[in-house]
Symmetry: C2
Subunit: 339 residues, 2 copies
């Protein structure tokens, strides 16, 4: 009898590949499984982008420290970030929720208030959805559609040797924020009267609770006439995303520890937990920043875009994926497995 494999053995990306390998796509589908979005071809000038995320209470969010309004806002951001990662513009979304009896209508109104604020700020339309009961907790499924001009679409596949590797914003903050929440939740559950101590941690808490999809970066790239050769959003961590770009583009990469953007507040929070800030920056994920590659020739235009760090460059595939540490050592990057 065939051995029953466990989910841990195949890993998240192995599982997706395994389950979807026998499916075929047709003429209107330019790209199926395997990038930030699926890409559909229904008109002359633009592609349509489709992305989806399923968020579960207890796995993706914890209502002990995430207000429902923030959960709603973040559910929109997570998907918008995938559309921006294709160099696109989010347009419409559907939201399905399943809720257990513990939720009041007013609680759900808060969830939708957060969704509405995100939709208004990012100019996205809510066009449909589904509501149903659940046995335990809240499940939210968002599918988002967007568009991108055909000559501007950015996959994970186009990175070339010598391209500059760029990252928006800063990394590791969402992970640091999570550690603070978990610590305070723990303190609270041990002695109910104690108020959680969140002052001074606003930056990292905000990074965790209310990430912003990088609309501004995509707009500024367009203004500067830059179409990245490859782009992905950082949901699983810089290291994992670099693996996706390098594997799909058949290249290697060299990044420099000292160039990886880490906010001072993130560094301080990490210190409290004796965590080296580089670790959450590489592997923490959930920062929803953009990782992209740009031809060296566009260095000048790139300099005109605020809040972008050049962290290294693309190398030949056989040179592998490496991090040059502050001390000058070459460290092989590792991808993370099932989350």
């Amino acid at each position: 009898m065939e051995k029953q494999r466990t989910l841990d053995e195949v890993g998240k990306f192995g599982l997706i590949n395994l389950l979807t390998k026998d499916f075929k796509t047709g003429k209107n589908t330019i790209k199926g499984v395997g990038d930030d979005c699926a890409v559909l071809d229904y008109n002359q000038s633009e592609y349509q982008l489709v992305t989806t995320d399923l968020l579960l209470e207890g796995i993706h969010f914890d209502l002990m420290y995430s207000p429902l309004k923030h959960v709603g806002y973040k559910a929109v951001m997570v998907n918008a970030s995938d559309i921006y990662a294709m160099n696109g513009t989010p347009k419409q979304m559907t939201v399905s929720i399943a809720v257990s009896a513990k939720f009041s209508v007013n609680a759900l109104e808060q969830l939708y208030e957060g969704i509405k604020i995100a939709c208004e700020q990012y100019n996205i339309e809510l066009i449909g959805g589904d509501t149903s009961a659940s046995m335990t907790g809240l499940a939210i499924s968002v599918t988002m559609m967007g568009t991108v001009a055909k000559d501007k679409i950015t996959y994970r596949t186009g990175a070339k040797e010598n391209d500059l590797i760029c990252v928006s914003g800063d990394l590791g903050g969402a992970y640091a924020g999570l550690q603070i929440f978990l610590r305070e939740k723990n303190v609270f559950s041990q002695s109910k009267g104690v108020q959680p101590k969140l002052e001074g941690y606003e930056y990292v808490l905000q990074r965790n609770l209310k990430p912003e999809a990088r609309k501004d970066i995509v707009e500024n790239l367009a203004k500067q006439g830059i179409v990245p050769t490859a782009m992905i959003d950082i949901s699983d961590g810089l290291s994992s995303e670099l693996f996706h770009i390098c594997k799909n583009s058949h290249v290697g990469c060299k990044i420099y520890e000292e160039k990886i953007p880490i906010n001072t507040f993130t560094g301080e929070a990490c210190k409290e937990f004796s965590i080296e800030p580089l670790i959450p920056a590489l592997h923490g994920g959930h920062d929803y920043e953009l990782l992209f590659t740009v031809p060296l020739a566009q260095y000048q235009q790139l300099q005109a875009i605020p809040d972008v760090s050049i962290i290294g460059n693309i190398v030949k595939e056989q040179d592998g994926l490496g991090l040059i540490s502050r001390s000058g050592d070459f460290v092989h990057l590792k991808a993370q497995g099932w989350d």
Copy 2:
């Protein structure tokens, strides 16, 4: 302080309306919340249709009696049925799953095998998705996209006085099948050695486990040159769907008990539970048949389509929604609330 309303108080459709009332849609969105699908306008000849469903173990399916392969198949059918209800053709879908550690990779392969069979039979492409962990059980979210020629789209809004009210297939079978499953599950849980008795109930069990979306009806309507004036799929029950059509079209309806299609096997299964078969036919739901209205002038063409029953006709709004019983009585139809 404002009273905390419960979900029961507002009901499923009340909740959707309440949560989505303040959202606005833009120029590419022809129809947002409020029909079987959202309708997008991205090219000259066709609209794009979008529908989504979130299915949870323990709420929408029970793995005690639903094999994962059937769960996968049904997840596709439920969404395809919504596309057909707009007179459209399903094209692409995304599937997101969240699974707890109790599932093996092989179990998930069975789920995707069912999805694949459905995709092949209905010519639908799997283009993306998401996998993640869950605390308890399996959650499946499907979003499906389809197309429909602009002059063929069918909403819930177009039913006119004197139109014929038509229903495909037969009703109440899925509900009867569920009763059989629940009875046998109950017997099994009380005395583990006993094998469930499922022979003789194949028809109703099949109606529950493996519904078919009515591609054939939409194709045959096109062949006969019929564009229904209104259409909806029967997921919540005939009575509830008639309410949607009548409310959205500002009309009433008169249907005849004797014309409502109920399979013999459904009738027999209902008898065992002392249920009047009319009740699941009106309120059972989950049959995924199509309910549609056709101008009286197209009666001849309608007759050429197999497996369609004419169950009544559209009347003036002020005449209400009525069922004429076998004894000739006029009974006011009732909609069902939160499921």
